[in-house]
Chain length 790, copies 2
């Protein structure tokens, strides 16, 4: 699927600060090629249309992307402080009480995110454990009664019903909830917004869909969806209530801007990881390393507070459930693999084995990423064909998974139960235990069934279990690894909420244990430890995170002594895998067409200057502009920022006054403070409006052009734009190297970057750069002779 | 001590881009008030001197700061990429092999930093444990023989000799090595350089001085010095060899810039923490949370690699020492408090106790910071009076510490030895054990002596020890806490390398254990756990770090289950303390006069614009400039950046060509590619020079003005500045709000920020903003009517 070409057909959806040639020459204004000289006699002209000579090109990069399993238009977020008159007045008059309100609110919201995410995390686990528990119980009983065929059908049908429910929700209610959600959250935190990424319906489907998909035994995790859920919760809380349901609260007005929302959503993402893995420090590091594009020291603390709250909430629930009030939840529930290896020194062969694991992990991980990419491309063609095909695809994968889970264990030989089992029953009868009897005679167990006919969490716990090196046969581990590796690849991308962590940990742990069993005679390390290292190596090979994975594994397994080994294996697997392709999330972000801004500029950008990629012509407003001109510009384009030019008599010569935003213009026009003459009416506007009138509403909730009702007479009147003009937009000179402009744009989280001319006697602005102008597709489209791989 | 007034006397040391009015009107050039109009007939004029009307003020903020215990001039670092012709050519011609070299070198350096820091960390501990061990052994033996007076003298004299040695090294060899070093490293990573911060002599004294000071029983830690040591090692490795000793290596030329050095030093700081605490993840987080001002995801990985190497090196050494080959090093050595509390659930009274501890920690911590600040101010007056007074101050503190350590235990009653001791001897005779006999009869021990007459590490281990709640009397803990709290305050700031972590942990652990003993009947928590929580609360109250402290404590104590409690106590103590004053390191940075750029702009900066703080007049060069003019400017000012203006005939109108750096000018002039006519000679210069000729040498190592030998005839010749002019300097319009300019300056790590005029018909540059122009002293000095606390 080629989003580039798709974008070219639909590029009128949103082109900021460029792209539309606005040329209604029927009115009294005229073109001016040379601004400074010719325009002095034309100062009543209002809108200035300056088609810059060489820049009649439009930015044709895609303005749409796939969110979940849905194609939808995207917008950029704006992390710049809009310093206009109203903002400054608001800031000056802000009282100590209001500042205090803001701080209290910030921490209250962090607390609420923590509490809610903690509750959702517990709820997810609680429901999954109960549904999957009763399902496995039923099958165990059927098998115990030798009704194998019935068992197969029971298993397949229950799984099918659960996964089709998840798929139906995803297909009809919120297609954005499909998939892991981490790429979308990552893109949001990079400044890409789409209405559905963090909508309430997405939250609802993400929670229910994830429960159904995991309970259905699909090879998916609940960790990615938890991150997305945390971000959705944070977004919902930061929306400033709902005007529709009259839930607006005065305090919340301070949060109506992208910066504060970004901080909340970073907290939410961290809370999601903390909730999924019960790893509060790991959650903070995950947000820092993988999710967030901007980071401040203050945020570190707030995020940490949120994840600590999640940990406390989860702990309280688990304490409550310990008394057996939560059905089959029992002790399983939340992942917490208590692997206390007594091992604490290691020899050279051990290290060699670990290095070997790291290399395998890197190779398998990059292959995994490659295959996931291929499968995703295929699936997105199927998914585009409509909801019915989405659901059928899910049903097929569910059937395949059920067949594997129920069919493959028949290949495994029966193993006699190990003697001296303390806490476990063997074989487990009548409940979803670890030593599955399956088709075996009493006193024996089927080790492959112990892995396959179990929840994913229990399978991981079995693989990590230490002490009993011979619990699993080599062949069992091999079959399980191959099956999970392939099922993981074909499952990601179907229209259900599906995390990647659990499939990757499962596959990694199984080949880790396989290697451990093979190298048993050479190495003193426990096979359980090998399983953990295998999981680490595969995680490093696919996701390419290091510090956060290391800490998450540490918190999962509660074993600090193996830290150096985990570090080593992660470093090696990441290095190996990085030489083949990018991390799986980066790959998915790119595949989905989300315009992600990298932290570093592309090397070829050093050879270009800012004006080389500016797309024009540009639409500018005068400091006091005719209403009709503004309406016309808003109607004809989807630009979100317009430069405002001061001309005589308001200034000596034409000069750049600043930048005005579409949303602010709409609010100003709605207020109808118009004048017949072209005069400045700043003070009146300042009396009529307050800064919070211009606060940014949630995406899709703001004022729309259709909401305005401007009469023909009003169209001929003037409105003073000065009070809402951001007089301090960031600017670069047109000869600034594009690489440095890109760094400026990215580091400061801008939406619009004004390009000003270098030489005098030219119009005061050359163009506006937006996110899309820095995208490689755009730049390389303009200069096809550039070799990006040089 | 008022650095502001000091600075005013010496402000000619370095004033970048402003400050000096250059007015040698004997030559043929003349002033021009209006640039555009009058200058067109003056394009042969060479240097342009444009005293801007309202900006005849100079920046009078201090250009010096205290580094260690020494006052020295400071410079700014420049993290901007200087995109001039030479750089671009170098970049274009850089081969794949060279890029590969760069990457390999980067990782090799990270590896070397890890290995060297690990070795130094082990060496430090090894020597300290042996010196202090034999000292304590001697005193133990003397006391066993009832020769108490001799014991006192032996203790005091040995301590005195050791601490005076440390002080002598600090006073005469490297005054910059005094103190913790963390504030200096923090300032360096924020972009403030002083020759001595990371010099080899500093490294040498830091290592030896820290060993002597810790072995002398002073209440100082070796953690801060380790951070400084790690940073010094990184700096030394990144210097690109030494020209003096002919150790230049071609590969290293890629590292001759501030950006790459900054990354290395961040790795070094992280390695230092990792080495001091054996906490690799904690080290990374420390670098991230406290040390670094800029952070990239790629750096996270490299830092992590370095700290992992440190951990592996330390582990290898400890394995080696386990066999008893390291003298008294034994198992003590590196801190690693193995506190495995079996506790894993807690009740409401426990939580209340923890909250109470957090509040106390916050109060005591902020009081500690307040007192440290007062003491430091007093000490810096003494330290300024010369090395002899510095040494005498150290001797006094050493005597005071010895008296406390030897005298106070006499107040403590003797306690009968606990029965059933497994691993410990009680009382310990003939070695530096935990249960000190002191003056007690056999079978008894003196609990205060167990804390005082021990190394700090062992005292902490004793306080953290769990299981025996009655090991220490209440009165003992109280006396110890008060003594250590006060000694810690008076010891920091004397002229020896002195870390703050250990004094803070000691004091915190003692009041934690005190509270634990008091609340024993109410709470189920172990007193050892209370000691850990007390240490956490006091660390949070003084240093105000959260995530990194939490992880360091986790790695120190190897107990994941107490994580939520540590988090809680840290959050509370930080919140409480933050309402009183700033963190101790921030306070010291400010006290030392280091111009630290905060991440956020001060609120009052919103009311100012960039041109409000520009100090002038400005010295500019022409694109092709007369050598004499350049020499004159370099001689008369210490500016480090000069704007280059292109005028007719090289351009249609005067326009800003870019910025040229002093160091680059010196290299260019040294090359003597001059011409008689005012013509562009770019290609010739490009043939003569390569980019690496302009690479930034270590501070103090670059070419100096005195190294140039320009004849009178050459003074009248011209040189083309275009090839070395950075044509993409970051610019702001003069009306840009100062707050936003500050954010731009800080986020991009700039040294010079050009302010360009808004209206046409003015000179193409208004001024240059540097770090000092954003300092509150400067801004508030210009506008005294601003109330910064509004």
């Amino acid at each position: 699927m080629d989003h580039g070409s798709k974008g070219r057909e639909e590029n009128d959806i949103e082109i900021e600060g460029g792209g539309m040639h606005y040329d209604n020459s029927h009115n009294e204004k005229r073109r001016c090629e040379r601004f400074g000289s010719e325009l002095s006699d034309d100062h009543g002209s209002g809108m200035l249309r300056v088609p810059l000579l060489t820049r009649n090109r439009a930015n044709t990069t895609s303005q749409i992307a796939i969110v979940g399993a849905n194609i939808c238009p995207i917008e950029s977020l704006d992390y710049e402080i809009v310093e206009n008159e109203l903002f400054k007045q608001d800031w000056r008059t802000r009282t100590k009480v209001e500042i205090c309100q803001y701080v209290v609110l910030k921490w209250t919201l962090a607390l609420s995110i923590g509490v809610l995410t903690g509750i959702v995390a517990f709820f997810n686990n609680f429901v999954v454990e109960n549904i999957a528990g009763y399902k496995l119980l039923l099958i165990n009983i059927l098998m115990f009664e030798n009704r194998y065929i019935l068992g197969f059908f029971a298993n397949s049908i229950i799984n099918m019903v659960l996964s089709v429910s998840a798929a139906t929700l995803c297909a009809f209610v919120a297609p954005a909830a499909a998939g892991s959600g981490i790429p979308e959250v990552k893109a949001y935190l990079n400044g890409v917004d789409a209405h559905s990424i963090l909508a309430p319906s997405t939250l609802f489907v993400k929670i229910l869909g994830s429960i159904f998909a995991v309970a259905a035994g699909l090879v998916v995790g609940k960790e990615g969806p938890m991150v997305h859920t945390g971000a959705c919760i944070a977004n919902l809380l930061g929306q400033g209530g709902s005007r529709k349901y009259r839930l607006t609260w005065r305090w919340l007005r301070f949060f109506k801007n992208d910066r504060d929302r970004r901080d909340l959503i970073t907290c939410g993402a961290a809370a999601g990881v903390a909730g999924a893995f019960r790893a509060p420090v790991g959650g903070v590091l995950f947000a820092l390393e993988e999710a967030a594009s901007w980071w401040r020291s203050a945020l570190l603390w707030r995020t940490f507070f949120t994840t600590a709250v999640v940990a406390v909430v989860l702990r309280a629930f688990i304490e409550y459930c310990r008394s057996g009030k939560c059905g089959l939840f029992g002790k399983g529930g939340l992942i917490m693999f208590d692997v206390n290896s007594s091992q604490n020194s290691y020899s050279t062969p051990d290290l060699l084995a670990v290095i070997f694991l790291g290399i395998i992990g890197g190779l398998l991980g990059s292959l995994y990423n490659f295959l996931v990419d291929k499968v995703l491309r295929t699936y997105s063609i199927i998914n585009e064909k409509g909801p019915i095909l989405k659901i059928m695809l899910v049903a097929t994968i569910s059937l395949l998974t059920s067949c594997c889970a129920y069919g493959l264990p028949w290949l495994a030989p029966c193993i006699p139960c190990p003697p001296n089992l303390e806490r476990e029953q063997c074989p487990t009868i009548g409940r979803s235990g670890n030593y599955k009897n399956f088709q075996c005679p009493p006193g024996h167990y089927n080790d492959l069934a112990s892995l396959f006919l179990n929840t994913n969490d229990d399978a991981i716990r079995n693989l990590f279990s230490s002490g009993n090196a011979k619990e699993f046969h080599l062949s069992t581990l091999l079959v399980f690894f191959v099956a999970i590796y392939l099922l993981g690849i074909v499952t990601y991308g179907i229209a259900v909420p599906s995390g990647l962590f659990i499939p990757v940990i499962l596959a990694g742990a199984s080949y880790g244990r396989l290697v451990g069993t093979l190298l048993g005679p050479l190495s003193d390390l426990d096979t359980g430890l090998f399983a953990i290292l295998g999981a680490a190596s595969f995680l490093g090979g696919t996701m390419r995170m290091t510090v956060s994975l290391c800490v998450i594994l540490l918190e999962l397994t509660n074993d600090l002594l193996m830290l150096p080994l985990v570090m080593l294996v992660l470093l090696i697997s990441k290095t190996v895998a990085d030489s083949f392709n990018k991390g799986v999330y980066d790959q998915i972000v790119k595949l989905k067409g989300l315009p992600y801004l990298e932290a570093h500029a592309e090397p070829y950008m050093r050879n270009l200057v800012a004006s080389d990629v500016v797309s024009g012509p540009l639409i500018m407003f005068s400091g006091v502009e005719k209403v009709g001109n503004i309406m016309h510009a808003l109607m004809l384009t989807r630009h979100n920022g317009f430069p405002v030019i001061d001309e005589p008599p308001f200034s000596h010569a034409p000069e750049l006054c600043g930048l005005v935003l579409r949303s602010h213009l709409l609010v100003l026009l709605k207020g109808k403070k118009f004048t017949k003459q072209k005069i400045m009416t700043g003070p009146e506007i300042m009396r009529r409006f307050r800064a919070h009138h211009f606060a940014k509403a949630g995406l899709g909730k703001g004022l729309k052009l259709e909401d305005l009702d401007i009469s023909g007479e009003e169209m001929e009147m003037y409105v003073d734009l000065h009070p809402i003009t951001n007089t301090s937009p960031y600017t670069v000179v047109e000869t600034m190297s594009l690489a440095k402009a890109a760094v400026l744009f990215r580091e400061l989280g801008l939406r619009h970057l004004c390009v000003v001319p270098k030489t005098p006697g030219r119009p005061p602005i050359v163009g506006i750069l937006t996110r899309h102008d820095f995208m490689p597709e755009h730049v390389l489209g303009l200069y096809p002779q550039i070799n990006p791989h040089k």
